[in-house]
Amino acid sequence: MSRDALFESLRLALGRKKFQKPSTPPEPLLLNRNWTLEQRLERFREAFAAQGGMLHEVSSAEQAQALVAELLAGGEAVASGAPLLAELGILALAGVQSGFTDAELLRNACRTARIGISSCHCLLAESGTVVLRFTPEEPRSIALGLPLSLIIVSRRKLLTNLDELLGLNPRSFESASETAMVNGSESSEIHLILV
């Protein structure tokens, strides 16, 4: 069916003219809860654990490094180019491969590594959701493609809920090719380190 024929029949069915502007669409109500950080943390801990996620809370780069080293247990990991990972010194740990600029090399590294280390766009406390946004720095295969997904993120990225994310900057979605909202995983283990 041609596009024009479809649009013609739609306009006919709806009694609309070509290029006719619609009235303003009804506004969805966004729920603003104004939770404190402590309230958000409490809710997130609960919701994330309920989906089988493992949450670790640390307060320094050294603690984060020690935790990652423990999870690695001498094994191999691939890490994304998220600036936070470099800042925390994660990329310098033994067994962590990073700095990929070639698709083939990334694929090969992901074939042998057990852990994928990345950061995320934000967290939603109410539903325990991890929001990932895929970019050149944050490839899909590192964030979600390996047996263990290790996500390291700042507490500042903990939002209350989806409504807050949408209210903040609803157009931010177009800035990347994909945004994923993950609530637990049946196929892989998810660990989250809150810094």
Binding site: M1, F7, L29, A103, S127, L162, E174, N183, S185
Partner: protein
Amino acid sequence: MTKPAEIRAHVLANLDHYLAELEKQLTGQGGTVVYLRSADEAADYIELLAREREVRVTGGAEGIRRQIEQLEPRLEDYLKGEPCVAVESVAIEGSGIGLAGAAFLIADAGAICLAGERTGAARPRVQVVLAGIEKVLPRMRDMAVFLPLVGGSDVRFLTGPRRAGELDGPEELYLILLDGGRSELLANQEKRDLLRCVRCGDCLPGQAGGRAVTCPVAIDIESLPLLLREEAPAEVSGWKFRLWGFVMGRPRLYEFAGQMLRAFWREQWGLPAPAAKTFRQLWREGKK
């Protein structure tokens, strides 16, 4: 009318406008938008695409058509409780081409929303998404009221194929918009309201479990034409039917049943799949 109902009614009354906006936005982000009349046309299109990309297709166009009907069943079939698969499918060999059915389309962001279990498990080179033309919503912030209505622990917003510098993600993204009789429903004042349906699954045979169902987009479920209100498949009775009822209330159990068993479940007994509820309940809890 509820807020979701108002927004859906507004979209349907201006459907040509929102489809055009979606198309412009998604095309600008590197996607390809195609309008097709039926599942048959879509199957032919995908088979041709596979041939051009030198991807082998098991089961040919017929196999693809069956998948399309499961991914994006006609609204009438859906409301009758026809089995329908969550999101991703793998009829096409390797990970050359992936098929998915959209939960929503978002006009202002040029986004395709996939909602289900493991929606991102396959990583195809070419991603094809099927959607009925009615699935569009005006703005990304509308998701605040619509996402809580559908199931799935894995929600994805595809806003185009991979961008410059990205090392993975689909190289091509196709959105196939299916008419499939929808423009006729739209022309009929009485039936137009049916297209407000967001396929939340609440009113499907077996889901209600005796309680009164309120449709989130204010479709009068009681007066859905008889042809849409067939009960659970008539030929299924006795212990199979009881087992069905038991598993329907336990989406996790159904998920646990394994690929083979689930395929058998659907194909041999013709039983509808339960909607995954855990994630939906979570979102909803948040709304209280």
